[in-house]
């Protein structure tokens, strides 16, 4: 058997591969494929352990229950408002609750920008709480490596006629380490 592709090793790691026995026989004979499979397994483990930036209602509940209000800063923000979230060694995780009029919204997209308009990230079809009219954005202490502490968040509703802006939020992070 020649070396299988990275896609095949992904399938093996996810338990979705055909011919698993043959793949494992090859793995035990090939140092190159062992290194490849190790790298893919590490990536999958990392993704499985990651906390999403935009939280589903379920994850938000789990976080709230696990940490409690004392160590989990939660900052509500209305459209057009500026707000600050402080994180440090004692408070490593926190989240923003963006209030928005999501009536009739089928799909929300969310764009993260610097205050001067440079795009940092874009999330399409994000989870949101329709009943409460909320989008929960999670922040962690190690996100300080990703960019400047100030961030403009634009949320828009994607509709048949095109995207409709429903809120801009000016978020400032204070990281103490």
């Amino acid at each position: 058997m020649s070396c299988p592709s990275p896609e095949t090793w992904v399938a093996w790691i996810l338990d979705e591969a055909e011919g698993e026995e043959a793949l494992e026989s090859h793995l035990f004979e090939c140092a190159v494929c062992t290194a490849r499979a190790e790298g893919i397994e590490r990536l999958v483990r990392e993704l499985n352990g990651m906390m999403p930036m935009v939280l589903t209602a379920e994850r938000r509940k789990k976080l709230e229950a696990a940490f409690g209000a004392e160590v989990l800063p939660i900052v509500p923000v209305s459209p057009g408002e500026h707000a600050t979230l402080e994180l440090g060694p004692e408070k490593r995780v926190g989240f923003w609750v963006l209030h928005a009029d999501v009536h009739g919204a089928e799909r929300l997209d969310c764009e993260l920008l610097t205050f001067d308009g440079q795009r940092l990230a874009n999330f399409t079809d994000i989870p949101f709480d329709r009943e409460r009219g909320e989008v929960a954005l999670c922040c962690q202490l190690h996100y300080r490596e990703l960019g400047p502490p100030e961030m403009l968040v634009r949320v828009s509703s994607v509709e048949a006629a095109g995207p409709r802006p429903i809120g801009e939020y000016w978020l400032n992070h204070v990281f103490t380490v």
Partner: protein
């Protein structure tokens, strides 16, 4: 002993075939311990990744490496491995049995610990990341929209393949194939950035 300082000891090359390593281990003597080290170095990563895949836990995979290597070395020393030309198959077979035993033992342990779990691992901030977080984030951001959605829905929103398929108007089979491709690309991006 003194001779070792005068004459360089023969080295055991990483390139020696499995059968030659097996022969040296079986024969014993000065070369045996170096052959054992070389064999462990060769097979430990393979057993470990097999363990991670089937046992889904780093400590369990580390245990598997120990158990399998001890069993294989004992068998080689005793000369009880018949076909040393196909040592990889012997190690894999040993690995399968040992992993099966471990899975049964862990199932019993889990039954004992059921209900004692305090906190789901995924709500804890990562203490030490195995992959540079910034690099992974950069690679995720470079994915096309649909690929990014598949990754997000799978790993961050805990959606089933069927749910993702319905949401993206694809078949479940398509989602699986696309997920294999996107993760392979992501892996190459992360590794490429590392190189």
């Amino acid at each position: 002993m003194a001779l070792a300082f005068v004459l360089p000891l023969p080295t055991v090359s990483d390139e020696l075939p499995d059968s030659e390593l097996a022969r040296r281990i079986r024969d014993g003597g000065a070369e045996a311990s170096r052959a054992e080290s070389a064999l462990c170095k060769r097979f430990a990563p393979r057993i470990r990744v097999y363990g991670l895949r089937h046992l889904k836990s780093e400590p369990a995979a580390a245990d598997l490496v120990q158990v399998v290597l001890v069993r294989v070395l004992e068998a080689l020393r005793a000369g009880s491995v018949e076909n040393t030309a196909n040592l990889a198959a012997y190690v894999l077979g040993t690995c399968r049995y040992a992993a099966f035993d471990q899975q049964r033992a862990e199932k019993r342990q889990r039954a004992i610990e059921a209900g004692a779990s305090l906190l789901a691992e995924d709500v804890l901030p990562p203490a030490a990341s195995a992959i540079d977080f910034r690099r992974l984030f950069g690679c995720l951001q470079r994915l096309p929209d649909r690929d990014s959605q598949i990754v997000r829905m799978t790993f961050l929103e805990d959606r089933t393949t069927d749910e993702i398929a319905e949401r993206l108007k694809l078949t479940a089979g398509n989602v699986r194939v696309l997920r294999h491709r996107v993760l392979a690309r992501l892996y190459q991006c992360v590794e490429g950035a590392r190189a």
